[in-house]
C-alpha cells in the first residue's frame, strides 16, 4: 500500500463526467469523476441508493452511462459489451452456474476464451489450490456452504487473469465471523496477486479493513475519496464523518474563525474550540463531530486544563467486552457516546454529573446536519 502511494501508478480506470438516470428525471449518479490506479483496492462505500452499485454496473458493462465516458487502460469502453471488457466480477449471490461442477464453473471463462484443455486444466487446478478446495472440484454449487461458494466465485473471477476485478457486496450473505475471515482472504489475494479490485459495500468496517482507498458515495455524488485513515481522521463533511466510524454530533454556531481553528457556541449551551474543516464564516451554523474514543470523562470539580470542557450527565453505560461505552447527555445531545476502558464504566453511576474534555484537533466543525 505504501509503495503504491509513493510511486504514482498509472490510472487503470477513469470515469469522466459520468451521469446515469433510469427514469429520465432523477440522476442516480450525478457527476462522477474517478480514477482507479493499477493494483489498487478501491471500495465504493455508501448507503443503498447512493449510486455505488450503478457505478460498478456501468464499469462492468451491464448499465450504460447516460452521459460521460469510462476509460479502461485509456480505451473508452462505453460501447464495449461486457464480455469483451476482460473484467472479472464476483456477484452478490455468487451466481455460480448450478448445472456445472465447481471445476467446470472455474473452467468456464477459460473455455469461452478457447484456451487449450491442458493449460485450462492446470489453471483450474491452481485456482482450486488457491481456494483450498481441490477435493470438492466435482461437487455442484448447491452442495457447498455459502463461504465455499464465495471462494469458488472468487476463483472463477480470477482464473482468467482479468485486468480488473469487480466485487458487488460479495460477503453480504455470510455470517459475521465468516465475513471477517473472507475479508482477510480477499485482502491477502489482492496483495499476493497484485490485481486491481473495485469493491462495493455498504459496510464501513469492511471498507476500512480491506481498502487502499475508499470512495464514499451519497446521493449519486462521491463525497470523499481517500485512504481509510484519512477518511476517519479528516472527513470533509458531516455525512462522511457520520458514515465512517462512530461519531458524536453537537450543533452550534461559529463565533470566530482563526487560522485552522474556530470557536463554536453550542446550541445546548457552552462553547468549544474546533478545527474549522467545513465552515465558511463567523455566524454560520455548524455541526461538530467528535469521535467517542477521543473524549475523556473527568469528575466534576477537578480543574480544567483545555479549552474544551463541557458538563455532562451519565444516562447509562454499556459493557462490550473489549471496551465499554458511556452514554451521556451533553449540551442537549442525549446520545453522546464516550468510549471507556472495559471496567471503567463501574465508576459511573446513572444520573451522575461529570465533565468531558477533548482536544480541539479532535473536534471537527463541519457543515450543519
Amino acid at each position: 500500500m505504501e509503495a503504491g502511494m509513493v510511486t504514482p501508478a498509472p490510472a487503470l480506470v477513469r470515469f469522466s463526467g459520468i451521469q446515469k438516470t433510469y427514469d429520465g428525471e432523477h440522476l442516480v449518479v450525478k457527476n462522477l469523476d474517478l480514477e482507479i490506479k493499477k493494483g489498487e483496492f478501491i471500495t465504493l462505500l455508501g448507503p443503498s441508493g447512493s449510486g455505488k452499485t450503478t457505478t460498478l454496473m456501468m464499469l462492468a458493462g451491464f448499465e450504460v452511462p447516460t452521459h460521460g465516458e469510462i476509460y479502461l487502460a485509456d480505451r473508452p469502453i462505453k460501447n464495449v459489451p461486457p464480455h469483451k471488457r476482460d473484467i472479472g466480477m464476483v456477484f452478490q449471490n455468487y451466481a455460480l452456474f448450478p448445472h456445472l461442477t465447481i471445476a467446470e464453473n472455474i473452467a468456464f471463462p477459460l473455455s469461452v476464451r478457447k484456451i487449450k484443455k491442458a493449460e485450462a486444466q492446470e489453471r483450474v487446478g491452481a485456482a482450486l489450490r488457491m481456494i483450498k478446495m481441490e477435493s470438492l472440484a466435482h461437487r455442484r454449487p448447491g452442495q457447498l456452504s455459502g463461504g465455499q461458494q464465495q471462494r469458488v466465485a472468487l476463483a472463477r473471477a480470477l482464473v482468467f487473469n482479468p485486468q480488473l476485478v469487480l466485487m458487488d457486496e460479495p460477503l453480504g450473505a455470510l455470517d459475521k465471523r465468516l465475513r471477517e475471515q473472507m475479508q482477510l482472504e480477499i485482502k491477502q489475494l489482492h496483495e499476493t496477486m497484485g490485481i486491481t479490485i473495485v469493491y462495493v459495500t455498504h459496510d464501513q468496517s469492511e471498507a476500512l479493513t480491506m481498502s487502499d482507498r475508499i470512495a464514499v458515495f451519497n446521493d449519486g455524488i462521491v463525497q470523499q475519496i481517500d485512504t481509510p485513515d484519512s477518511l476517519y481522521e479528516n472527513p470533509v463533511n458531516s455525512f462522511v464523518a457520520h458514515f465512517i466510524g462512530e461519531n458524536n454530533v453537537l450543533a452550534g454556531t461559529v463565533e470566530t474563525i482563526e487560522n485552522e481553528y474556530c470557536r463554536v457556541a453550542l446550541a445546548g449551551g457552552g462553547a468549544v474550540t474546533a478545527r474549522a474543516v467545513n465552515v465558511s464564516r463567523a455566524g454560520a451554523s455548524t455541526s461538530l463531530s467528535v469521535r467517542p474514543e477521543r473524549i475523556s470523562i473527568v469528575p466534576d470539580g477537578t480543574s480544567s486544563d483545555g479549552p474544551n470542557r463541557l458538563p455532562a450527565k451519565v444516562q447509562s453505560t454499556i459493557y462490550l467486552g473489549d471496551h465499554a461505552l458511556a452514554v451521556l447527555d451533553v449540551a442537549g445531545n442525549s446520545e453522546f457516546m464516550v468510549k471507556l476502558q472495559p471496567v471503567a464504566h463501574h465508576s459511573l453511576r446513572q444520573g451522575e454529573s461529570v465533565s468531558i474534555t477533548f482536544r480541539p484537533e479532535d473536534c471537527l466543525a463541519l457543515d450543519p446536519v
Binding site: F62, P82, M89, F91, F97
Partner: protein, 420 residues
C-alpha cells in the same frame, strides 16, 4: 434446555426415541392419508379400475369358451398336427345345436371371424344345416358334408387358438402380427396390417406437434419470464385464454379459418399471393396447426416456471466471464431450462398421442391417429379386445417414455436444490 427436556423425557418413559418418533409420525401420516383418501378412492374406481379392466380385456378370450364349452374341452388334448378326432366333431355338433337353441352362436361367430375371415359363414351355414345330433361315429362326416371347411386343419386351429381363457391374439393384431396354422408368430396379411402405420403416424404427428410447440413456446415463455410483472401478467392471460373456450369450439374455429373459402385462403387470395385456394385443412398440415394451437399452453407453462427460476445474474456472470450472448445462452441458460423443456415436451407429446377430436375433425383419412381406431372399435364394431389391445400398447409406450424422461431428469435435476 432442549437437552434437559430430552433427558427428562427419556427418564420418565423407557420407550426408545425411534419408536416414539414413529408414534408421533403415525398420527400425522394417518391424518394425511385421511385427507387424500377421497381422491384415492375416486381414482381407484375411475382410473386404476378401468385401466386394469382394459388390460384384462386385451388378453381375455372367453366367447368361444362360453358358447362351445365341449368343443374347447375336446380340443384341449389335440396336438394340432392332424384333423381332430371324432370326439371333437361330436362335441362341436352338440355345442352348435345348443348355441343355436340359446341364440348365442353369433357371439362365437364374431370372435372366430376376427381370426379367420369367413368363419361366420361357416358357422351359420353349419348351424342352419345341422338338423340333429349326428349318430355316434358319423359327426366328422356329417359336418364335413355340410361345410368342407371342417375338413381343414386351419378351421380347427382357429377354434383352439380362440378357446382362451387368455390370448395374445388382440395384442399381436395391434402390432400387425398373427399366428399361422402352426402357432408361429408371423406378420399379418397386408390387408389387415394397418396398426404399425397408425402408430408410426401417431408418433410422427405427436413429435411434429411437440417440436412446433417447443419452437413457438420457448420465446414466449422467455418473454413471460423476463418481462416486468405487469406486462407479463397480461401476456399470461393471452396464453391462458384458449382454456376458456372448449376444445371443440377451438377446433371448429380452425375449420372456419383454414377451409378453402376460409379466412386464410381469402386473405392470401386478396393480397395476391395465391390464385388457387391452398389445401390447408383435412390434411396433415391442418392437424398439426390445430393441435399445436391447442397444446401450446402445456408447453409454455412448464417452460415458464423453469425459466422463472433462473436468476438473471447467471447471464450477467457468463458475460462478465467473457461469454458472448449466444455462448452464454447455449451453455448457461439453455441447460437450466432442460427440466422445463423435458416436462413440457413430455406433457405435449403424451397429450398429443391420445388426441382424438382434433384429428378426427380437421384431419383427412390418412391423418387419423390411434385414438380414432380405439374409438372405432369401441363404439362402432364393438371389438373391445382389439380396442383394449391398441390402448394397452399405447399405454405401454407412454409409460416407457415417462420412464425415460424420469431417468433423464434425474440426471439433470440440479436446479431444484440450488435456488438460494
Amino acid at each position: 434446555m432442549t437437552d434437559a427436556l430430552l433427558t427428562g423425557a427419556n427418564a420418565s418413559t423407557e420407550v426408545p426415541l425411534k419408536r416414539r418418533l414413529r408414534r408421533a409420525e403415525r398420527t400425522r401420516q394417518v391424518k394425511a392419508l385421511a385427507l387424500v383418501a377421497p381422491l384415492l378412492v375416486f381414482l381407484l374406481f375411475t382410473f386404476a379400475g378401468p385401466i386394469v379392466g382394459m388390460l384384462w380385456r386385451s388378453v381375455e378370450d372367453s366367447e368361444v369358451r362360453q358358447v362351445f364349452p365341449h368343443t374347447v374341452a375336446a380340443l384341449a388334448s389335440w396336438d394340432g398336427r392332424d384333423l381332430p378326432d371324432e370326439m371333437a366333431y361330436a362335441a362341436l355338433a352338440s355345442d352348435i345345436l345348443a348355441a343355436r337353441a340359446s341364440g348365442t352362436i353369433a357371439i362365437a361367430a364374431k370372435r372366430l371371424n376376427y381370426a379367420l375371415n369367413g368363419f361366420r359363414t361357416i358357422l351359420t351355414s353349419t348351424a342352419r344345416n345341422l338338423k340333429a345330433v349326428p349318430e355316434p361315429g358319423t359327426a366328422k362326416e356329417t359336418l364335413g358334408k355340410i361345410n368342407p371347411a371342417w375338413r381343414e386343419r386351419a378351421t380347427w386351429t382357429t377354434i383352439k387358438d380362440a378357446s382362451g381363457p387368455v390370448t395374445g391374439f388382440y395384442l399381436l393384431a395391434a402390432l400387425d402380427l398373427t399366428r399361422n396354422a402352426d402357432g408361429a408368430i408371423v406378420a399379418a396379411p397386408p390387408d389387415q396390417a394397418i396398426y404399425r402405420d397408425v402408430f408410426a403416424r401417431t408418433f410422427l404427428i405427436s413429435i411434429s406437434v411437440t417440436a412446433l410447440c417447443l419452437i413457438l413456446g420457448f420465446p414466449v415463455a422467455y418473454l413471460l419470464a423476463t418481462l416486468p410483472p405487469g406486462r407479463s401478467n397480461l401476456l399470461m392471460i393471452f396464453v391462458l385464454l384458449p382454456f376458456w373456450t372448449s376444445l371443440l369450439v377451438r377446433t371448429c374455429a380452425w375449420i372456419v379459418l383454414l377451409q378453402s373459402k376460409g379466412v386464410v385462403n381469402d386473405s392470401l387470395h386478396w393480397i395476391g399471393i395465391i390464385d388457387e385456394p391452398l389445401r390447408l385443412i383435412y390434411n396433415r398440415f391442418g392437424v398439426c396447426v390445430a393441435m399445436t394451437h391447442v397444446l401450446l399452453p402445456f408447453m409454455i407453462l412448464p417452460l415458464y416456471s423453469s425459466m422463472k427460476a433462473i436468476s438473471p445474474a447467471y447471464m450477467r456472470a457468463a458475460a462478465s466471464l467473457g461469454a458472448p450472448p449466444l455462448t452464454a445462452f447455449l451453455r448457461i441458460y439453455l441447460p437450466q431450462t432442460l427440466p422445463g423443456i423435458g416436462a413440457g415436451s413430455l406433457l405435449v407429446f403424451i397429450l398429443a398421442l391420445g388426441y382424438y377430436i382434433t384429428p378426427a375433425l380437421v384431419g383427412g383419412a390418412a391423418d387419423q391417429m390411434i385414438s380414432y381406431f380405439i374409438a372405432l372399435y369401441t363404439t362402432e364394431t364393438a371389438n373391445w379386445g382389439l380396442a383394449s389391445a391398441l390402448g394397452a400398447v399405447l399405454l405401454l409406450v407412454t409409460l416407457l417414455l415417462a420412464l425415460v424422461y424420469g431417468k433423464l431428469v434425474h440426471g439433470q435435476q440440479v436446479t431444484g436444490g440450488m435456488k438460494n
